[in-house]
C-alpha cells in the first residue's frame, strides 16, 4: 500500500505557502489601471523569478491552491488503490507549481514554461490509465491540439519581445502604456489562438470532452477549475497589450459567443454526465471570455473563480457518483438522492450555481458578466455595439440552455428510484462540502444589479421549467441528432487533419526512401556502368590500346583546335 499522506502534506504545504503569499495581495489596487514602474528591458531571452501578483492573480492562485488541496485529499480515497498513485499525486503537485508560475510570474518565459508544463501534466494525467485506448487517444489529442494553440503564445512572445524589447510583462505594460499598443492586432490574435486552444474554445474545443477518460479528480482540477481557465487569466493578463484593438475584441466576442451557445447545446443532449459537464465547462469559459471582450476583465476573473469552485464541486461529485455506480452514463444513474446524500446536497448547490440560481456565487458572477456585456452595447468599449448586442442575446439564450441542462442532469442523476446502496468515503465528501460552502460563501459581498438579476433569473427559471417538461426525453430528432453528433465539428480534428497529415507523411517517407535517393543511387549506377565500360577496354589486346591512343589523340587535338 502506498503511503498517501506525504503527498497531501506536500500539497498542503504548497497551498499554505501560496495562501500566505496571495492573501495580502488581495487588497491591492485593481488589476487594470495599474501603472508599474522599474521595468528593466532585456534583449536576450532571460528567465527571471520576478513576480507580479495583483488582486485577481491572488484570487486565481488561491483558487488553484485550494482546489488542488481538496482534490489531493479527495484522491486519497478515489485513487488510493491505484498502482500509480505516486506519479499521479506528484504530477498534481507539479501542476500546481506550474499554475502558480503562470499566474504569478512577471516573466513571459516563465509564463510559457508554466503554461506548457500544465499542458504536459494534463497530457500525462489524461493518459494516466494508459491501458485504455480512449485515454491514450484523448491524451494525445489534448496534447497536440493545445500545443497547436500554444504556438500562438510562443509567437506572441516573440513579437512582444521584439516590439517592447523586454520579456517582462510589467515592462511590456509600461511600453504599451508609453508608446501605445504596438502590433496589438497581431499579439492579440496570437494570444487568442493560444487561449482558444488551452480553454477549448471553438474551433479547438473538441479536445476537452475527449479528455474525460482521465481520472475524475483531474478533470475537476485541470479541466474545469484551473488549467483551462488559465487561458482566460492569461488573456486578461496580457490585455494591456491589445485591449484597445477592435479586431481582437471582436474576434474574441465571436469565439466566445459561438462557443458558449454551442457547448451549452451539446451539454443539453449528452447521455454521459461527465461529458455533459465537460461541455458545460467549455460554455462557462466562453462566458468569461465574453466578459473580457466586453472590456470587463475583472468580471471574467470573478466568474473564473466562481466557476472554479462550483465546477470542481460538480466534477468531484460526479466522481463520487462514478465511484458508486461504476460508470458516468446517465442511464445507469437515478435515485442517488438517498444513497449518496452528501453528494446530492453539495451537487445540488453546484448545479444551482451552474444554472445561476440565487444565492449561489454562480448567479452573481454570471449576472455581472451579462451586465458587462450590456454595458458594452453602449459602444464605449473597443467592441462594436452590434457585436455586443448579438453577444448579449446569445448570452441570455445560453443562460436558458444552461439552466435547462443543469436541471436535466440533476434530475437524471438524483431523482427517481434508488437502485442499490452506495458508500461515500469521508475523504471524498469533505472536499465536496468545502466546495459547496465556498459556492455560497463567495457570494458574500457580491454586487447585485436588480434588472439583470430579474431578467436572468426569469430566463433560468424558464430553462428549468423546460427541462422539467422534457424530463429525460431527448430533443426532437432533427435537433437532437446533429447536436448529439456535436455538429461533426470534431471530424476535421480527429479524422481529416490527422489522416491527411499521415497521408502526406507516407508520401514524404516513401519519397525520402525511394525518391530523394535517386541522385546518389543513380550516381552509383552510373559510376558502375562507366567503371565497367572503362574496364571492358582492358582486354589485353595491345592493338586496341594503341587504337585508343590514336583516337584519344584525335579527340584531344579536336579539343585543342576547337578551344583555339
Amino acid at each position: 500500500m502506498i503511503r498517501r499522506w506525504p503527498y497531501v502534506a506536500l500539497t498542503a504545504v504548497v497551498a499554505v505557502a501560496v495562501a500566505i503569499w496571495a492573501i495580502p495581495e488581495l487588497d491591492q489596487r485593481a488589476f487594470f489601471g495599474y501603472v508599474p514602474t522599474n521595468a528593466t528591458p532585456t534583449m536576450l531571452p532571460s528567465l527571471s523569478l520576478d513576480t507580479r501578483v495583483l488582486p485577481d492573480s491572488a484570487k486565481v492562485m488561491l483558487l488553484a491552491a485550494g482546489v488542488t488541496l481538496l482534490v489531493q485529499v479527495y484522491s486519497t480515497a478515489y485513487m488510493g488503490k491505484d498502482r500509480r498513485y505516486r506519479s499521479y499525486a506528484l504530477l498534481i503537485v507539479l501542476f500546481l507549481v506550474a499554475m502558480i508560475a503562470v499566474v504569478a510570474t512577471d516573466n513571459l518565459f516563465v509564463l510559457l514554461i508554466g503554461w506548457e508544463v500544465m499542458g504536459v501534466c494534463s497530457y500525462l494525467l489524461i493518459g494516466h490509465w494508459w491501458e485504455q485506448p480512449q485515454s491514450r487517444a484523448g491524451a494525445m489529442k489534448a496534447l497536440v491540439v493545445t500545443r497547436f494553440g500554444d504556438l500562438g503564445l510562443l509567437v506572441a512572445i516573440v513579437v512582444i519581445g521584439q516590439t517592447y524589447g523586454t520579456y517582462s510583462i510589467t515592462g511590456a505594460w509600461v511600453g504599451a502604456a508609453d508608446q501605445g499598443q504596438q502590433h496589438g492586432t497581431a499579439i492579440g490574435l496570437l494570444v487568442l489562438l493560444a487561449v482558444v486552444g488551452k480553454s477549448a474554445q471553438v474551433p479547438l474545443q473538441t479536445w476537452l470532452p475527449d479528455a474525460m477518460p482521465g481520472p475524475t479528480p483531474i478533470t475537476a482540477l485541470i479541466h474545469a477549475a484551473t488549467m483551462v481557465a488559465a487561458g482566460v487569466y492569461v488573456f486578461a493578463r496580457l490585455l494591456p497589450l491589445y485591449g484597445n484593438d477592435t479586431t481582437v475584441m471582436t474576434a474574441l466576442a465571436v469565439v466566445s459567443g459561438v462557443t458558449m451557445l454551442l457547448a451549452a447545446l451539446f451539454a443539453l443532449v449528452q447521455h454521459d454526465l461527465k461529458r455533459a459537464l465537460a461541455w458545460s465547462t467549455v460554455s462557462q469559459l466562453a462566458y468569461m471570455f465574453a466578459a473580457i471582450a466586453a472590456g470587463a476583465a475583472d468580471v471574467g476573473i470573478s466568474h473564473l473563480v466562481s466557476h472554479g469552485a462550483y465546477k470542481a464541486l460538480l466534477f468531484l461529485g460526479c466522481g463520487v457518483v462514478m465511484h458508486a455506480v461504476g460508470t458516468s452514463a446517465l442511464s445507469a444513474m437515478g435515485g442517488l438522492r438517498t444513497t449518496l446524500p452528501a453528494t446530492f446536497w453539495t451537487m445540488t448547490i453546484g448545479f444551482a450555481a451552474l444554472a445561476g440560481i440565487i444565492p449561489t456565487v454562480g448567479f452573481f458572477t454570471k449576472d455581472r458578466v451579462l451586465e458587462s456585456i450590456h454595458v458594452a452595447t453602449h459602444g464605449e468599449t473597443p467592441l462594436p455595439g452590434g457585436v455586443a448586442w448579438a453577444l448579449l442575446v446569445v448570452a441570455y439564450v445560453t443562460v436558458f440552455v444552461t439552466a435547462a441542462y443543469a436541471m436535466r442532469l440533476w434530475m437524471l442523476t438524483f431523482l427517481g428510484l434508488p437502485s442499490k446502496q452506495h458508500v461515500e468515503p469521508p475523504s471524498m465528501t469533505w472536499p465536496l462540502v468545502a466546495l459547496g460552502v465556498a459556492c455560497l460563501a463567495l457570494s458574500i459581498g457580491e454586487p447585485l444589479d436588480l434588472d439583470t438579476a430579474a431578467l436572468s433569473t426569469l430566463v433560468a427559471l424558464a430553462g428549468i421549467a423546460f427541462a422539467w417538461w422534457r424530463q429525460d426525453a431527448d430533443l426532437p430528432g432533427p435537433v437532437q441528432r446533429p447536436l448529439a453528433a456535436e455538429l461533426g465539428l470534431d471530424h476535421p480534428i480527429t479524422r481529416l487533419i490527422p489522416a491527411g497529415t499521415i497521408g502526406v507523411a507516407r508520401v514524404a517517407d516513401a519519397a525520402d526512401r525511394e525518391g530523394i535517393d535517386v541522385y546518389p543511387r543513380g550516381g552509383a549506377v552510373l559510376a558502375g556502368l562507366v567503371s565497367s565500360a572503362v574496364r571492358a577496354l582492358q582486354t589485353g589486346r595491345v592493338q586496341v590500346y594503341a587504337s585508343v591512343i590514336a583516337v584519344g589523340a584525335f579527340v584531344v587535338v579536336l579539343v585543342g583546335v576547337i578551344a583555339r
Binding site: 565497367s532 574496364r535 590500346y545 585508343v548 585543342g560
Partner: protein, 467 residues
C-alpha cells in the same frame, strides 16, 4: 679551347648513366653472380647525383626539385629491388643498367630545354623501361606486358614526333626559348599550331598514364615486377610531369589557350575514369595502377595554371608526396608478393594485424593517396593542387577534383579495410613460405612511411622547401 657544357644541367644524368654502365661491367666481371656488387655502383652514382645536385644545383629550382625526386625515387626502387635478389631469372647487371639508364632518361627529361633533347630523353626513359618490364626470363606475362608497353609507347612517340615535326614546320625552331618567341608571331598558322602542340603533349601524357593514353597502365603494372611498376608510377611519371611542366611553362606559354582546355579535359577524364575503374579492383597492384591513372589527373590539373608560380610548384609538391607514397606502396606489395605469392585483396586481408610493418604502411599510403587524415600530407597536397586551379578561374575543374577525392576514398578505404579486417581463415602458417630477402625492402618501406608520418605532422618540411 673548351666546349661549354652546362654541368649543372647534365651532371646528375651523366653520373647516373655512367654508374649504370659501371654496374653492368661489375656484374659482367664479378666472379660470382652478386646482386649487391652490381647495385652498389649504381647506388654510388645516385648518391653522386645528389652530391652534384647539391653542389651545382640545376637549371632552375623546378628542375632541381624534380631531379631530387627522381634520384630519391630511384634509390628507393634500387633498395626495393633487392626483394628479387635471390631470383635466378632476374639478371642483376642488366637490371641495374636499365634502371640507371631509365633514371638518367628521366633526369634529362626534366632538364631538357629543347624538343630534340626531350625526344631523346623520352626514348632514353622508355626503352630501358620496356626492357625492364620484360626482363625476367621466361616470364610470359612480363613479355606480354613489355610488348604492350612497347607498342603503345612507340605509337605515342610517333604521334609526339609528328607534333614536334609540325611545330618545327610552323616555327622553324625546336628550342623552348625559340618556340616561346616564335609562337607569339601572328604569322604562325593557328590550326596547325594547335594540332602540333596537342600532338606534342601526347607522348608526355602517355608517360603520365593520363586518360585517354592510359590503356597500357593496368596491364603493364600487373605484368611487370612490382618494384618496376613502382618505378613506372613514380620516377617515370616524375620525368614526364617535369618535362610537361617545363614545356608548357616555357616553350608553349604563348599558346595556353590551346593546351589549358586540353589539360583540363585530360585531367578530368583521368581522375574520373581512373577512379571509377579502380572502384572494382580487388588486387593491390591493380588498384595502385588505376589509382595512378587517377592521380595523373590530379598531377596535371594544376598544370592548367602552370604559367603562375603556384601552378608550377603545386604539381611538384603533389608529385613528391605521390611518388613517395607510391614507392612505399609498391615496395610493400613487392614484399607481400614474395612472401605470400599474390597481392589480391584476399591475400592482403588482415595484413595490418599479422604483419603490421607492411600492413600499416600500406594503409597509410592508401590514406595519403586518398588525401585523408591521419595522412595529413595527402590532404595538404590536395589543397595545394586545388589552389592554382581555383585561382585560375577553373572552379568547375576544382569541383571535379573535389568529387574525385570522394570517389578515390571509396576504393582506398576498401584497401584499408581489407588490411585491418580479421582474415576469414587464419593464414596457413607463414613459415611454409619461401624465405625471401625482404629485409632491405621492408626497411625502405619503414623509412618511407616514417617520412610520410613526419610530413603529416609537419607538412611544412616539404611544402615550404619545394619551389
Amino acid at each position: 679551347m673548351s666546349i661549354p657544357i652546362d654541368w649543372a644541367t647534365a651532371g646528375p644524368a651523366v653520373i647516373v648513366a655512367t654508374s649504370a654502365l659501371v654496374a653492368l661491367m661489375v656484374d659482367a666481371f664479378w666472379p660470382r653472380r652478386s646482386w649487391f656488387a652490381s647495385s652498389l655502383p649504381l647506388l654510388a652514382g645516385l648518391v653522386g647525383g645528389f652530391v652534384e645536385l647539391g653542389r651545382t644545383g640545376s637549371v632552375d629550382d623546378v628542375s632541381a626539385a624534380l631531379t631530387f625526386v627522381i634520384l630519391a625515387g630511384t634509390v628507393l626502387v634500387l633498395v626495393g629491388a633487392t626483394v628479387m635478389s635471390d631470383e635466378d631469372s632476374m639478371p642483376p647487371g642488366e637490371l641495374h643498367l636499365l634502371l640507371g639508364s631509365a633514371a638518367s632518361g628521366a633526369l634529362v627529361m626534366v632538364a631538357a630545354r629543347d624538343l630534340v633533347t626531350l625526344i631523346v630523353a623520352i626514348e632514353l626513359l622508355a626503352l630501358p623501361s620496356i626492357a625492364l618490364i620484360g626482363l625476367r626470363q621466361g616470364d610470359r606475362r612480363g613479355i606480354a606486358s613489355s610488348w604492350t608497353f612497347f607498342l603503345t609507347s612507340v605509337v605515342s612517340t610517333a604521334v609526339t614526333l609528328m607534333g614536334v615535326a609540325l611545330l618545327y614546320g610552323s616555327t622553324g625552331t625546336l628550342t623552348y626559348a625559340g618556340l616561346s618567341r616564335e609562337l607569339v608571331d601572328p604569322a604562325v598558322p593557328d590550326a596547325v599550331v594547335a594540332v602540333a602542340v596537342v600532338l606534342t603533349l601526347v607522348g608526355l601524357l602517355f608517360k603520365l598514364g593520363a586518360v585517354p593514353f592510359h590503356a597500357w597502365v593496368p596491364d603493364t603494372y600487373r605484368g611487370a615486377s612490382v618494384v618496376i611498376a613502382g618505378f613506372l608510377a613514380s620516377v617515370s611519371k616524375a620525368g614526364a610531369l617535369g618535362a610537361l611542366l617545363v614545356l608548357l611553362a616555357i616553350g608553349l606559354s604563348p599558346v595556353d589557350d590551346v593546351w589549358v582546355p586540353v589539360i583540363a579535359v585530360v585531367a578530368t577524364a583521368s581522375m574520373t575514369l581512373g577512379n571509377l575503374a579502380a572502384l572494382r579492383e580487388r588486387d593491390g597492384v591493380g588498384m595502385l595502377a588505376w589509382s595512378s591513372v587517377a592521380q595523373a589527373g590530379f598531377l596535371v590539373a594544376p598544370a592548367t595554371a602552370v604559367l603562375t608560380a603556384e601552378g608550377l610548384s603545386a604539381p611538384l609538391q603533389y608529385l613528391a608526396v605521390y611518388a613517395l607514397a607510391n614507392l612505399v606502396g609498391f615496395t610493400a606489395l613487392a614484399v607481400v608478393l614474395r612472401t605470400r605469392g599474390s597481392t589480391s585483396y584476399d591475400t592482403l586481408t588482415g595484413l595490418a594485424r599479422s604483419e603490421p610493418w607492411l600492413g600499416v604502411p600500406l594503409a597509410f599510403v592508401a590514406l595519403t593517396l586518398a588525401g585523408f587524415p591521419p595522412a595529413v600530407i595527402g590532404l595538404v597536397t590536395k589543397y595545394v593542387v586545388l589552389r592554382p586551379v581555383v585561382d585560375d578561374g577553373l572552379t568547375w575543374l576544382a569541383v571535379v577534383m573535389a568529387v574525385n577525392v570522394m570517389l578515390g576514398l571509396a576504393y582506398y578505404l576498401r584497401l584499408v579495410v581489407v588490411l585491418v579486417s580479421r582474415p576469414a581463415d587464419e593464414p596457413d602458417g607463414i613459415t611454409s613460405r619461401p624465405a625471401a630477402p625482404t629485409g632491405l625492402a621492408t626497411a625502405a618501406v619503414a623509412v618511407g612511411t616514417a617520412a610520410l608520418v613526419v610530413l603529416s605532422v609537419l607538412p611544412g618540411l616539404l611544402i615550404d622547401h619545394l619551389p
